[in-house]
Every structure is written in structure tokens, then in C-alpha cells.
């Protein structure tokens, strides 16, 4: 009933436009079926829809604009849809249009239901068939974002939607038709759609944990999928989260931004090795790099990976002493392998304690006003040596570890001496009483002599 009344009202409103439809047949129908049935022709095209003559109706004095140009849509729609239009004016879509790229998306590119984008067929977002509806978003974006030539002009990847479709997010939405599945606009704002390199983007590395955490940190959302909801929190406490500014990976760094997959165990070492080159190299060359574990129940054989000792999302250095905690998972007590692990663990703990002490000493020297350039350089070299040692530890050779430790201890001693000179201990004041005895004896002598 309500819909009928609406249609009648719309018919009344468009009745005035009868003069337009005389020459433009087929226009009225899509407008009446669109989300804006009351809109009259002049609302968008200006001109005069009451004029008897075509030239009067299309007169430039009446500000007739003909077909609105791409750049004119946001101003027109923004009269009512202010926030969306405002956001769009800061978007890369507008940048592309300004540069004359026809692929730059404007309001009708995403909100027109018809195959040929037109303001006559603007669709209601709530309508499941609308191009901006959750289940349609990927296809709508793909109209341009899968076009290699168009994307190349703006320096944007053209495989994003394809990868999304292949991954679990795409599967969830496109195959399972999940009403709450993640679409493009969940990570890339629908109207501002900032590039992911823009810190304002929810897809920027600095904001990925927050963005992904909206679903992946929510037990209610994760449970039906059989996924843990604690991984984002674990990542947020990791050295990777702290090191984002220096290029440490965010969520997409390991899972990929669009494919969003769990990296297979066979790829982990190579993947971590892209940054942790030394440890990955030593690991691969050492006994663990060749080790294969067989699941006692399934009989499935899997290689060892970084995750076994460091965890995936926490990415933590194992806590010292780590032999029992890490090595003990596979090696029984009393075995030579566990003894080697214990040696390496204590070497690691001792070396780290040395570095903490030396850095403390450098800080104290600095606080005393010393530039300590030499000691600082030597300490940086020791930090480098520690990096090499921790890489070497991944080859789990206790002999190599002990050799490196001997060299480290020798250099650390030199640094400690050089920095220690800048931070002297309490002064020796034993000469004071002797000086006073000497001075007083002299004064007595002079006193006697001055009397004589």
C-alpha cells in the first residue's frame, strides 16, 4: 500500500516532466524504479521542463547542462549525501578523474544498477542486488580494479579482487553469501577509498591489526569459523607490532592483503627469511632445517619451521633458559641434543646480559657528558656480533656458539674497559690526611721560625 502511494506521488511529480518524456522516451521508467523516484529531470539536468519548445527547455540561460559530467556528480549528490560526497572528494578516484582518467569512479559508477552507469537507475544500498550491496561490492570494484590497463595508469594492482575471490574472505562472501562477510569496503573505505599506503586507510600497515581485529578479535564472529580470536592480541604484543615503523610485518605482511591465507608450513622459513635472513639461512643449513616431524596419530610428516620455537603471531624470542621449554618439546632429557640446547641457551642469556650491562654503561657515560664515540662504535659492533650469534644459534651447533661467545667476551671486555674509564668509581682520598700532616708540620715550623 505504502509503495503504491509512493508511486502515485512520484507519478504526480513527474507529470510536469511530460514535456521531457515527449522526446526522451524510456527515461521515466528507470527513474520511477530507482531509489529516487520523486526526482524531476531538472533536478539533475537543469533547463526548463515546463517550456513548450525544445530550444527553450534546453536553453543555456536556464542553466541546462545536458548529461552531468563525471566531476559534477559529487556536487549534485552531495546536496543531500554530504558525508559520502565529502569523503569522495579526498579519494584517489577523484584524483584519477582530475588527471583525465575515465576509470576514476564517481557516484554513479558504484550506485547505478544498470550496466551502463546512469543517474536514472540509482539503486538503494539496502537492496541486495544494488552494486554497492555487500555481496555485489567485489564485482562492482572489479569493473575497474580488474582492468590491468586502467590500474596501470594509476599504479594500482589489478589482481586484488581476483586474489580476494580465491581467499577465505572472498569465499565467505561470494560462495557462502555470508551477510557479514568481509568485502572490499570493510578495509578500503567505500567513499574515501584511500590507498593502503595512506596512514588514514584502515588497510595501512599501522592500522591492520585494528581493522582485522574488528572481526578476528571477536570471539562471536570467529567461533562459527573455528578460528581463534586471540591471535590479533598476540600480534599486538609482538616485536613485529612494535617494529612497524621500521618495516616489520603487519597482518598482511604474512597473510597477504587480499588472498588472506594461512602460509603453509613449508613456506614459513623462506617467508621469515625475507627479513630474518641470517637465522633462516643457518636454520636451513642446520639439523633442524632438514628435520621432519611425523604426527604419531595421522602419520603426517611436516618439516620444522620458525613457528615451533617463536610462535606465529607472538613472534617472540624464546624466554631464557629456553632449552627445556623449546628443545624439550622434541628432545628427551639427558640427550646430547638437549645438552647442546642448554649450552646455547646459557650463551644467549649471558651475551644478552653483557649487552644490557654495556648499554647501561654507555648511557651512564652519556649522562656524564661524554660523547663516547669510540665506545659507542665498538658497542654497535658488539650488537652486530650478537645478531650474528643469534643467527648462528639457529644452526644449533654448540661448538660454533661457544667459539662466537669467546670472541664476544674478548671484545666486550675491551668495550667495558673503554666505557668504564668514562664512568669512574669513588675517588681515592687517602692522601688528604698526609697532606694535612705535611702542611701543619710546615706551619708549625714557619711559626717557630717567624718568632725567632
Amino acid at each position: 500500500m505504502k509503495r503504491l502511494l509512493l508511486l502515485l506521488a512520484a507519478a504526480a511529480a513527474t507529470a510536469e516532466a511530460g514535456t521531457c518524456t515527449d522526446c526522451h522516451p524510456g527515461v521515466e521508467e528507470p527513474v520511477l524504479a530507482s531509489a529516487h523516484p520523486q526526482t524531476s529531470c531538472t533536478d539533475c539536468h537543469n533547463g526548463d521542463d515546463t517550456a513548450a519548445e525544445m530550444t527553450d527547455a534546453h536553453a543555456t540561460e536556464k542553466k541546462f547542462i545536458g548529461r552531468p559530467k563525471a566531476l559534477e556528480w559529487a556536487a549534485m549528490c552531495g546536496d543531500c549525501h554530504r558525508e559520502a560526497a565529502q569523503a569522495w572528494t579526498a579519494s584517489p578516484h577523484l584524483d584519477a578523474l582530475r588527471k583525465g582518467d575515465p576509470a576514476g569512479a564517481t557516484c554513479v559508477s558504484c550506485h547505478a544498477a544498470a550496466a551502463t552507469p546512469s543517474g536514472h537507475s540509482l539503486a538503494d544500498c539496502g537492496d541486495a542486488g544494488a552494486p554497492s550491496a555487500r555481496l555485489q561490492v567485489a564485482a562492482t570494484c572489479a569493473k575497474c580494479h580488474a582492468d590491468g590497463a586502467a590500474m596501470a595508469r594509476s599504479g594500482v594492482r589489478a589482481d586484488a579482487v581476483e586474489l580476494y575471490g580465491k581467499g577465505p574472505h572472498g569465499h565467505n562472501v561470494l560462495e557462502e553469501k555470508a551477510a557479514d562477510g568481509p568485502s572490499c569496503v570493510d578495509c578500503h573505505d567505500a567513499h574515501a577509498s584511500p590507498r593502503s599506503s595512506d596512514p588514514a586507510s584502515a588497510a595501512h600497515p599501522s592500522r591492520q591489526a585494528q581493522t582485522c581485529g574488528r572481526c578476528h578479535g571477536d570471539e562471536k564472529v570467529m567461533k562459527p569459523h573455528g578460528l581463534s580470536h586471540g591471535l590479533v592480541a598476540k600480534y599486538e604484543g609482538s616485536p613485529h607490532a612494535r617494529g612497524l615503523d621500521s618495516g616489520a610485518p603487519s597482518c598482511a605482511g604474512c597473510h597477504g592483503p587480499h588472498l588472506v591465507r594461512v602460509p603453509p608450513v613449508t613456506e614459513i622459513v623462506a617467508h621469515c627469511g625475507r627479513c630474518h635472513e641470517g637465522p633462516a639461512r643457518e636454520f636451513a643449513a642446520g639439523p633442524h632445517g632438514k628435520a621432519v616431524r611425523t604426527d604419531p596419530q595421522t602419520g603426517e610428516a611436516t618439516p620444522m619451521s620458525c613457528e615451533d620455537c617463536h610462535g606465529a603471531h607472538g613472534a617472540r624470542r624464546p624466554e631464557s633458559p629456553w632449552a627445556a621449554r623449546s628443545c624439550g618439546k622434541c628432545h628427551a632429557a639427558g640427550t646430547p641434543a638437549l645438552a647442546d640446547g642448554e649450552r646455547l641457551s646459557s650463551i644467549s642469556a649471558d651475551t644478552r646480559a653483557d649487552l644490557v650491562r654495556l648499554h647501561g654503561l654507555l648511557e651512564r657515560a652519556r649522562a656524564r657528558g661524554h660523547q663516547a664515540g669510540e665506545g659507542c662504535e665498538a658497542l654497535a659492533a658488539l650488537d652486530g656480533a650478537w645478531q650474528d650469534m643469534s643467527a648462528l644459534a639457529h644452526g644449533v651447533s654448540a661448538e660454533a656458539g661457544a667459539m662466537a661467545r669467546t670472541a664476544f667476551v674478548r671484545d666486550a671486555k675491551a668495550v667495558e674497559e673503554s666505557l668504564g674509564r668514562l664512568v669512574p668509581g669513588p675517588r681515592d682520598l687517602r692522601w688528604l690526611p698526609a697532606m694535612w700532616a705535611f702542611v701543619l708540620a710546615g706551619v708549625v715550623l714557619m711559626w717557630r721560625k717567624s718568632r725567632a
Partner: protein
């Protein structure tokens, strides 16, 4: 040529034997009996000054006068140069000792009336030595390039800038620009190690030459001394050589030992390098506290003129009066009981100076006094 031949040859050219004989004769003259151990005070000041010169030489050998390296070079002196910490501490504490001994010496001279005719210039030269020491204190304070020194020097040069007449020009000359910076450090360094020490040495030489030439003041009034002659007023007294010189040396030895003791027990610790924000509670050394406190009292404007410039006239006049005291205090009397007026005026000035010093020391501070915590405002009044 034999050693003796060399000395003979030098005597022909320099006439040093005659000069030595004249000095020896002057130093062998008996001095007034009341001289006693008072000369130990002057000896102490000389001893401390000698230690300042020696420690200054050691410090200058390691110090680098540039904003980039000054602070670190002082840290290196303190922590890596053998006994550098002690030299540094002695040099810093020596300033306080020297100012204190010079003020005590001035008090002693005033009380004994020794500044009166014919020893007016001895006083003037001595006063100028004290001013040179204060100049050395101010310039030396900036050299470690600590944040505190940077800001207190900025404040001090600000006061110089508002001094009447030549103030702005003098401030620019000292600062070498609009702000305290590398040029200021260079200028203060050259003043501290060359200009002021040379000036001090010349003034001190004049001061000591006059002491030697005119002898120590006897207790009799100046006119009686002039009538009877110094020798007649000094019968039976000890001579400079050897007695008085030994007493002065004993004073020097004790002062040096005391300075070394204080310096060894309280060496200066590390302080932040220049470049930080203005530290809170910035205040000068104790001997400038009265001036610091007095300038706070200056109103913004006095009779349409900048208040501080007008206010500065008071300490400037006081300083001039101090240097020219013998020409203001002209009565021949030396006994205090016969000099009531000048004693009252000087006592009032000393009281004002002491009171301003105390107010300056407590101003803007919270102190625990007599078991109670008391806060003082910027004028030193209890809040």
C-alpha cells in the same frame, strides 16, 4: 762563560742586582708591630690565586672552546685526565675561596684603616683585583657549556644590555650576536684565559709593589705617620723577610690545603649540556645574590625610563664607591672609635648587602627552617 759571568753580563744589561738590593732593603724594613699574623690572610688569597692559575693551566690544556666539544671536553677532564676531577673541582671552588678571601681582606683593611693616606692606590688596585676575579668567575662559569651556565649567562648579558648608556653595545660585544652562542663562548674563553688574567696580574703586581714600597699601615693616624715617617712608627716590628713572609706562606699553605680538601670531598658532578629549556630556579653564585635580588625590586619604569636601567645605577654607584673608598673616607683617624660615621655608613651598606643576599638565597624556594617547611616568594618574603 761561567755561571757568574752570565749573571754579571745580565746585570750590566738589566741592572738586576741593584733592583734586588732595593727590594731586599725594602723587605728588610721593620713593619708596624700590629702587623702580626694578619698578613696570613693576604698570603692565603695569593696561595689560592696561585692554585687557580696552576689548575687553570691544566684545564686549558684539555679544554676545547666550542659549543660542540666544550661540554664533552670538560667531562673528559673530569673522568679521564689523571687527577682532572681534582683540578676541575679546585678551579671551581677556588673562585668562591678567592672572592671570600678578597672580601675578608677588604674588611680587614677597612677596619684597620689601612686604606688611608698614603695607601689609597693600594686599595684601588686591590679593589680592581677583586673586580677582575669576579670577571673571571663570570666568564669561567660559561666555559663548561652546561645548560645552567648557558641560561645564567643569557640572563647576565641581558642585565648588561639594560645597563645605562654603553649597555647594549657592551652586551653585543660580549655576546658576539643576538644570542649566547659559539661567538660568546670564544669571547668568554679569551677573556678568561688571556685578557682578565693579564689584567689581574698587572693589578696584583701594582698592589704588591705598593704594599712593598709603602709598608704596612701603622696604628697611628695617617697625619701622624706622614709627620713621623713609616720607620719611626714601626720600631721593634718584624720585617717582611723572613718573619712576615713566613706567616703569609703559612696562611697560603693552610688555604691551599683547605681548598684541596673541600675540592676533593665535594667535586662537581655531571651537569646537562646547553641546549635544554631554561632551568627552574636559576640563581647566581652567592656573591652575586644581592645584586640578583636588588634588580628584582626594580619597577618596570622609573620617571619614564626603563626601570632596570635606573635601578642599575645603585649597584654601579656602590661599586664605584667601593673602589674609590679611600677618597670618600678621608679622615686621618685609623682607630675605629674615631671613625664612627664612616663605620656606620659602611656597616649599613654591608647589612643591606647581607640582607639582600639572604633574601636572594631563600627567594622562590621552599626551605625547612627550625623544623617547619616555609615557602618564600620571589622577593624572599615568607608566603
Amino acid at each position: 762563560m761561567s755561571w757568574r759571568g752570565l749573571l754579571d753580563g745580565l746585570d750590566v744589561r738589566l741592572g738586576w742586582r741593584e733592583a734586588r738590593a732595593r727590594a731586599a732593603a725594602e723587605l728588610a724594613r721593620p713593619q708596624p708591630a700590629r702587623a702580626g699574623w694578619g698578613v696570613a690572610l693576604g698570603g692565603a688569597a695569593l696561595g689560592v690565586l696561585g692554585l687557580e692559575a696552576l689548575s687553570g693551566l691544566v684545564l686549558a690544556a684539555h679544554y676545547r672552546a666550542s659549543p660542540e666539544s666544550a661540554h664533552a671536553s670538560v667531562a673528559a677532564i673530569r673522568d679521564t685526565v689523571p687527577l682532572g676531577w681534582l683540578w676541575l673541582s679546585v678551579h671551581a671552588w677556588g673562585t668562591h675561596a678567592l672572592v671570600a678571601l678578597a672580601l675578608l681582606q677588604a674588611a680587614k683593611v677597612f677596619i684597620s684603616g689601612a686604606h688611608k693616606r698614603p695607601r689609597e692606590l693600594t686599595w684601588v688596585a686591590g679593589a680592581l683585583v677583586l673586580f677582575a676575579v669576579l670577571g673571571l668567575a663570570v666568564t669561567g662559569h660559561l666555559l663548561p657549556w652546561t645548560n645552567e651556565a648557558f641560561w645564567s649567562t643569557s640572563v647576565r648579558l641581558g642585565h648588561v644590555e639594560s645597563a645605562p648608556l654603553a649597555g647594549p653595545a657592551a652586551a653585543r660585544l660580549l655576546r658576539g650576536g643576538d644570542d649566547v652562542g659559539a661567538a660568546t663562548l670564544s669571547r668568554f674563553y679569551i677573556l678568561h684565559v688571556a685578557v682578565l688574567p693579564a689584567l689581574l696580574a698587572a693589578l696584583l703586581a701594582l698592589h704588591l709593589r705598593l704594599v712593598r714600597r709603602l709598608g704596612l699601615a701603622p696604628g697611628v693616624p695617617a697625619d701622624e705617620e706622614a709627620a713621623r715617617g713609616h720607620a719611626a712608627c714601626s720600631e721593634g716590628g718584624a720585617a717582611w723577610l723572613p718573619q712576615l713572609a713566613l706567616r703569609a706562606a703559612a696562611g697560603a699553605a693552610v688555604a691551599v690545603a683547605a681548598l684541596l680538601t673541600v675540592a676533593a670531598l665535594h667535586p662537581p658532578g655531571p651537569a646537562a649540556a646547553a641546549g635544554g629549556p631554561t632551568p627552574a630556579g636559576l640563581r647566581p653564585e652567592w656573591f652575586f645574590l644581592a645584586l640578583f635580588q636588588f634588580l628584582k625590586l626594580a619597577p618596570a619604569r622609573v620617571a619614564g625610563l626603563p626601570g632596570e636601567s635606573v635601578a642599575q645605577l645603585v649597584p654601579l654607584l656602590a661599586v664605584a664607591a667601593f673602589a674609590l673608598l679611600p677618597f670618600l673616607d678621608r679622615s686621618p683617624a685609623r682607630r675605629l672609635s674615631a671613625r664612627k660615621l664612616s663605620l656606620a655608613v659602611v656597616a649599613a651598606c654591608v647589612f643591606a648587602w647581607g640582607a639582600l643576599t639572604v633574601l636572594g638565597a631563600v627567594s622562590d624556594r621552599e626551605l625547612r627552617l627550625f623544623g617547619k617547611t616555609r615557602a618564600f616568594d620571589t622577593y624572599g618574603r615568607p608566603r
